[in-house]
């Protein structure tokens, strides 16, 4: 299986995701520089976290206009799975591959901490390593993760199973307190209509070995391998 990680100026989780992918998939991904006008052959595209272009103007906005993103959009349209984590999620919304926007956290502060997520749809290539309703613990680390969209879009997201992860408390309740960044409907991760593009604010790549305090993130990458086995 071949995977590609897109690296923008200011990406800073590219190495972490590379390590996580390599551990799960057994082979190292291709690192693709933002200026590339062509993508290698690939079964999965990952847009890592970080501060592409310093998050200047709007998080993800400047990266979304990089040359490589045209290619990413083409591949996504052709059905190649695209996973955007944190800044990657922001870039995917700015590039129009996912609906809505990620605004400044409600408390206006950067938040880095472990959070609980409820897996609401385990039926995607990304989430087959989980079971529906499972509660997992992985960290968030962002300044702009406050998901916002219009009512209509929200309805569609809900009815079409596009809301994949929601912030919850330890017991799985979707409380206001557990919704640290103020996201609409506790949204932590959504897919596109075909469930082939996933954007999520939490960082699964930071919970892939026990020394990091847990392995709930590893299940995502293991699941990807299973569902994409080629």
């Amino acid at each position: 299986m071949k995977t590609s990680i897109i690296v923008f100026p200011g990406s800073n989780c590219d190495r972490d995701i590379k390590v996580a992918l390599t551990a799960s998939l057994g082979s190292a991904p291709d690192m693709v520089w933002h200026g590339a006008t062509e993508l290698p052959e690939t079964d999965l595209i990952v847009i890592p976290g970080g501060f592409s272009y310093g998050d200047y103007l709007r998080a993800g906005a400047l990266a979304a206009h990089s040359p490589v993103m045209r290619e990413v959009v083409l591949r996504a349209d052709a059905g190649v799975p695209v996973l955007g984590i944190c800044n990657g999620f922001q870039i995917l919304t700015e590039a129009g591959l996912l609906p809505g926007v990620l605004m400044r956290n409600a408390a206006l502060k950067f938040i880095c901490k472990d959070v609980f997520l409820k897996v609401q749809n385990a039926n995607t290539v990304f989430t087959s390593g989980y079971s529906e309703g499972q509660i997992i613990r992985i960290p968030i680390a962002h300044h702009d993760g406050n998901y916002e969209t219009d009512k209509e879009t929200l309805k569609k997201l809900e009815s079409n199973g596009q809301i994949v992860f929601q912030y919850c408390d330890e017991m799985g309740a979707l409380t206001k307190e557990a919704n640290y960044n103020g996201s609409l409907a506790n949204i932590a991760g959504i897919t596109n209509q075909n469930h082939t593009v996933l954007g999520m604010m939490p960082h699964p790549e930071r919970q892939v070995d026990l020394f990091q305090g847990g392995t709930d993130g590893k299940a995502l990458f293991d699941g990807l391998l299973n569902s994409l086995k080629i």
């Binding site: 200011g10 989780c13 501060f51 310093g54 200047y56 950067f110 880095c112 930071r206």
Partner: protein, 729 residues
């Protein structure tokens, strides 16, 4: 050209004597550019003129030290051709004037110091001191400083894993922001700043030069006054995005063999970087300032030489490699300009617009900078503290709650949750413990890092306080199971021209030096920040110690959290019940009296080595050193960290109950284990005091029969002070 009047000289912070020395060195009157260069090079900040004499007395060597003080950062070896590069630096004055940018550029500056040596930064720490919480400026300063540190470090993708944050009225007008960066480099690919190779190109890379922070270096060396606060110099704005590109570009270039020497432009920017490179290499430099990438129009030579624009580096490249280097910097969208060449003249010659605007001999300026043996007086011996012996269970119960929730002791989670402390995915001991633990990427090794200082101890007795800061650092590192390797020190003091302040400085240095020697814990880098004074009121002496240790195998390390119920709790070390300068005295009795606890360095060493062996052998996984607040606060923190309570008994023969619970005797640890008998036997065989005091159990902290506090309440008290404080208006 500006005329050099006595007023101009004074405005540049140069004394009459120093000016005479300039005349002697160059044999004529300097022009304004030259005067500016002298003034920044001879400022306290760059020349260490008040402190040099004393800094030289610090021990700096050990078999594992690759590079001690004098370079951009210190370096220790950790085996497998790997080295740890680290340093701490203050950005006190800038953060008081503009907290966000001041703190942010402090973080940016220290990271450059580390990656300029070829190391990838793997951890940041920050030691913060603010004025009393109810001072009108305090909240504003905290929120700006923390956001600034977060803004810069998070964007760089370097985890901020630890630090300190305490409060005292002496910092009302001078907060402290000490930032530390720890990096990892291959031993065989370390870069230094000595220029070499007559005729080689001098290259400027990074951001363009603007009129930022001109005179920042001299500002950092003068006392504040009401008046000074309004005469704000231009503040530098940090651009962490550009620094991230600079980091990646430098590391990429360092993988080729193009670089002969490299130096970041920190305080006094182009001036100090070029003079340092030339002076260390024993060469001259001829620079063409027209080639310097400029952000603004009409910049003068004076402005370019004194600008403190951030995110810039100076390099000397191997002949013929310029193009390869240029391509790398262009790929990372950074400026790259050849601005000079190395000469054999030992002079710095600056050209601008077809004229020679400065011609100065390098060595006399860089090395023969002033050095003062400032008069100092010994700090008088503190009196012994008096204490009201309030030992009723009710009072003790209340005292424990007060201490665990007081500003200094309360959890700093509100701060570290604004820092990305997990990026790079190697943080295996997160903030909140004694030292943070960061895995050496791709290995089973890890480093433990911590910053420490107790300024009240240092004020009462600079010598013991200096010793204690080092001992506490060593203990915090040890408590994780790491072998302490070396420290960086950040000496924050008041006005050194006052003999009593100089006396504090001298006392602390002597204490630090003795402790470092006794513990094999040398100083490999550091920074001095003097004149932390407002209207004649100086800060408490604050020699912050940043320590680094090595964990050989992460399967064997310890955290402060209890592992499970039913384990025995053991205290290692002698408890005498020293209450002078304790947190208890300050918080409960409102007194900052007495002598600090004396530090028995031999006991520190024995007890620490014993504890570390136990952790290394996998015998214990729970360990916490005892410091501010004494034994009971340490136990409360262990319970809070784990969600597991404990019950302890005060030994019958205890001479002082308060002292036993709250005393701050040094060289002590709390450990928890299921093999209590063996451990105590082993300890006593080595003449180390080890005593069982209780057991982990339940969800309360219980002392004897009458004192019980629920864990929920402790957690609530510990966690709530800072967030509540910050959200109050």
């Amino acid at each position: 050209m500006t005329e050099i009047t006595p007023e101009v000289i004074a405005n540049h912070g140069l004394s009459e004597e120093e000016y005479l020395k300039i005349l002697k060195i160059i044999g004529r009157e300097p022009n304004i550019t030259e005067l500016g260069i002298f003034s920044v090079m001879w400022s306290e900040h760059c020349s260490y003129k008040s402190s040099k004499k004393w800094l030289r007395t610090l021990p700096t060597k050990a078999p594992w030290v690759i590079c001690g003080p004098g370079e951009n950062a210190g370096i220790v070896e950790i085996g497998d051709n790997q080295a740890i590069v680290f340093k701490m630096e203050s950005h006190n004055h800038p953060s008081f004037i503009e907290p966000y940018q001041g703190a942010a550029t402090g973080v940016g500056g220290i990271m450059r110091d580390v990656f300029t040596m070829g190391a990838r930064p793997i951890a940041n720490l920050n030691s913060l001191r603010f004025g009393r919480p109810d001072h009108p400026k305090t909240k504003h300063l905290i929120s700006g400083v923390v956001a600034g540190i977060a803004g810069y470090g998070n964007c760089m993708g370097v985890p901020t894993v630890g630090g300190e944050c305490e409060f005292h009225s002496s910092y009302d007008g001078n907060n402290l922001v000490n930032a530390m960066t720890v990096g990892l480099a291959p031993c065989n690919n370390i870069f230094y700043s000595a220029a070499a190779g007559i005729g080689n190109s001098v290259v400027y890379v990074g951001s363009k030069t603007g009129r930022d922070g001109i005179h920042g270096a001299t500002m950092a060396s003068t006392e504040f006054s009401e008046d000074n606060e309004s005469k704000r110099p231009t503040v530098q704005v940090g651009d962490p995005f550009t620094e991230k590109l600079l980091l990646e570009a430098c590391l990429e270039l360092m993988n080729t063999d193009a670089i002969i020497a490299i130096q970041d432009m920190g305080a006094a920017g182009l001036t100090s970087s070029s003079f340092e490179m030339a002076s260390k290499g024993g060469v001259g430099i001829e620079m063409n300032l027209d080639a310097v990438p400029q952000r603004e129009e009409g910049m003068t030579a004076y402005e370019m030489m004194l600008s403190e624009s951030q995110e810039r580096m100076l390099m000397v490249l191997k002949p013929g490699s310029e193009n390869e280097a240029k391509l790398i910097f262009e790929k990372w969208e950074l400026d790259f300009a050849i601005i000079g060449i190395l000469t054999d003249t030992n002079h710095m010659v600056l050209r601008h617009k077809g004229e020679i605007v400065a011609d100065l001999p390098i060595d006399p300026l860089a090395e023969a900078s002033p050095e003062y043996d400032r008069p100092w007086v010994e700090t008088p011996q503190a009196t012994v503290a008096s204490i009201v012996n309030n030992t009723s269970p009710k009072e003790i119960n209340k005292a424990i709650k007060t201490l665990i929730g007081c500003p200094d002791q309360s959890s700093k989670r509100w701060i570290w949750e604004q820092y990305d402390h997990m990026v790079m995915a190697d943080t295996i001991g997160r903030p909140g413990g004694d030292a943070a633990i960061v895995r050496v990427h791709g290995t089973m090794k890890a480093i433990a890092v911590s910053t420490d200082c107790n300024p009240r101890y240092c004020f009462a007795d600079p010598y013991e306080g200096g010793k204690q800061a080092v001992a506490e650092s060593w203990r915090n590192i040890t408590a994780t199971g790491a072998k302490p390797l070396a420290i960086t020190d950040n000496m924050n003091f008041g006005n050194p021209e006052r003999p009593e302040i100089m006396g504090q400085f001298v006392g602390c240095i002597k204490g630090i030096g003795d402790a470092c020697k006794a513990l094999d814990y040398p100083v490999v880098s550091g920074n001095v920040s003097l004149y932390n004074e407002t209207n004649g009121i100086g800060i408490l002496p604050t020699p912050t110690i940043g320590g680094v240790g090595l964990i050989a195998n992460i399967n064997n390390c310890a955290s402060i959290a209890f592992e499970k119920e039913g384990q025995d709790i053991i205290i290692i070390g002698e408890t005498e019940g020293h209450m002078g300068q304790s947190l208890y005295l300050r918080e409960i009795e409102g007194s900052e009296e007495g002598t600090p606890p004396p530090v028995d360095l031999a006991a520190e060493r024995f007890n620490g080595n014993f504890v570390r062996k136990m952790i290394e052998r996998g015998r214990i996984t729970t360990c916490h050193d005892i410091s501010g607040g004494g034994l009971i606060v340490a136990l409360a923190e262990m319970a809070i960290a784990s969600g597991i309570g404990c019950a302890i008994e005060i030994p019958k023969d205890t001479p002082t109950i308060l002292g036993w619970l709250f005393g701050e005797d040094q060289a002590r640890y709390v450990i928890a284990s299921s093999e209590v008998k063996d451990i105590i036997a082993e300890a006593s065989a080595q003449n180390i005091k080890a005593e069982k005091i209780g057991q982990t159990k339940g969800r309360q902290l219980t002392v004897g029969k009458e004192i019980t506090i629920s864990l929920d309440e402790l957690v609530q008290l510990h966690q709530s002070w800072l967030p509540n404080f910050m959200s109050q208006t």
